[in-house]
Amino acid sequence: MTATSQAAAADHSHRFHTIVTTVENKPGVLARVAGLFARRGFNIESLAVAPTADERFSRITFTVDVASSSLEQVVKQLDKLINVVEISELSPTESVERELMLVTVDVAGGRRHELLELVDDFRAYVLDANQSQMMLSLAARPGRLDEFEEHLRGFGIVQLQRTGRVALPSLDS
């Protein structure tokens, strides 16, 4: 890692925050949550929404790029939304984060074998393949997905979709 990229990584951890909210599973709730960020010009980097074990509620996990002081204000305002039941910030050291990536890679250049080695190394899966392309999936830490993506660039990424991270607190945190 170069000095610049280390600094960038440090900045990354400082500014990126993972917020987990339990909300009522109702129409329009995501728009209310997203609206609070949009109004301030904050970008949502990653977003994952799905019902919880209790289908009356959904969990929204999102990562935002914002200074801590502004974040505190937004979190308080999110908490004021009537449909938001619970809200917490997850620190990376006290939580488990996972993200899923689907990616189609160009293998026309005869590097199929090399790609399959990479798939093994990362414990990814091959979901589909033809003469010229392979579709892979990887579920892992978001950082691990970044690394995988970096390696795949050498092959040629045709299409890529990430789900956005989901997270739960670590058991002993």
């Binding site: 009522e24 609206g35 109004r39 204000q73 308080k76 305002q77 004021k80």
Partner: protein, 577 residues
Amino acid sequence: MDMNGGQALVKALECEGVEVVFGLPGGAILPVYDPIIESTIRHILVRHEQGAGHMAEGYAHATGRPGVAMITSGPGATNGVTPLCDAYMDSIPLVCITGQVPYAAIGTDAFQECDTTGITMAVTKHNFLVTEAQDIPRIIHEAFHIATTGRPGPVLVDIPKDIVDPRNPRSAMTWYEPTDDIMELPGYRPATAGDPELVRAAAELICKAERPVLYAGGGILKARAAAELLALAELIDVPVVTTLMARGCFPDSHELCLGMPGMHGNYTAVTAMQSSDLLIALGARFDDRVTGRLDGFAPDAKVIHVDIDAAELGKVRNPDVAIRGDCKLVIAELVEALKACGGLEAQPDRRAWRSQISGWQERHPLVYEQSEPGELLKPQYVLEVLRDSTPDDTIVTSGVGQHQMWASQYWRFDHPYTWINSGGLGTMGFSVPAAIGAKVGMPDRMVWAVDGDGCFQMTAQELVTASMERIPIKVALFNNAYLGMVRQWQEMFYEERYSEVYLSHEIPDYVKWAEAMGCVALRVEAPEEVAPAINKANEIDDRPVVLEFRSAAEENVYPMVPAGQSNSDIVVDPSQR
């Protein structure tokens, strides 16, 4: 009992104790207007939906009960956005019912369709799109609960036409009693009492402070905590400033009252806060119009901040003690904690602070020069005469601008809920409809709308509503032929380059206009005519009255903290410089 959604809606409003609805019917809300005929609810037919919203605000502010507006879809709803935002900024409990196109037509660009819940999401405490007639009683109850508890605010309920139209099978429902236990609000937990440890910490800070100031905001009125504030101030003998939203929450004639702080606050209120070593902020939000340039605001003060809304704590100024809670309960707790610490005897000797404050009061009272014969009226003089010619408990509403600042400065508010204005949003045109709403809610009280000529032209048509409904408000209209506050800024900060601020003394002819709307109207041009005109207006109780005061355009509001400057750079009246 089987009924249709429209009947259920009206019955649900009756169950909430609604006595009056301000509204205007239209296509999508039509089915609800049929059961209104049989209802006990009084409906006031406005001339513009914005008027309905501001009337509901005036009603809510004066009575403490939620105001209700009912308007149709599309343009009706968009006309209601300004009062919703106004109520949101000033924490006014409001329930706004909007018609919507039939559920199946939503999203098809149907006639008079707009995305009402989408548009109002950012200007309401919460909003609902009701999709089933069966949900109406529960959602109406939830709407009133949310509007009136915690930090109050506007709630909008959007009702598609099909679920209230008796000719549509989707409107069929079975009535049930809307009670608290049927509410489904798992994420709504309004704050109540304060954390006792934090209250003790606050009491300890107070017992050490040499130059404390009680900074009372609109939250005192929302919490109905005026009596608690008085008890606290008297117990520790600490001066009180009352913000624009809090005027009247502490009596102006009380010796501890310093009046209004902020951009056009009086010198003593502003300077006492600047020099303070402890600000006790109660239901106040450190608005930019109060703090001036933030890094220069009350630089030596520690801060105790009490607010029911956690998002206010630390939003602008980091507090030393932050207490989330209802002001009424927290102040009562604080009084007990201070008594336990020894009450007044435990307070430091603050004679030096008190004498410093009285020095400022003596050197920098509010001043203006009376007009010379033949000159136009001084608005400050008119307001003093109006104040002295009306009962103590008169309700005063105001628009936004110079007249608003003078009214707040020169009135003597000795009772809570006697001052109603648009503080946060600064909505021109607020005064006349707000006065109508206040008078409907408090029919035995005298209600005066103080207004400017710019504001009056925005919502004056509601005087037709007042005439038709026999709501005898009185309007003191200051006609200085200008958008006065903007003119003042152009004079002071744009080298007297007056751009698009001239309105005219003569057009419109306010007397003829007011008479055309069914009001009694008088034009007043000389100081000796002021008191007789007001006395005549006070005697009229069967229709609205408009007094047009021809006033001096060059009169500026002082003191003034220019925008973006520190409160220490307060500009006083030229005669005191």
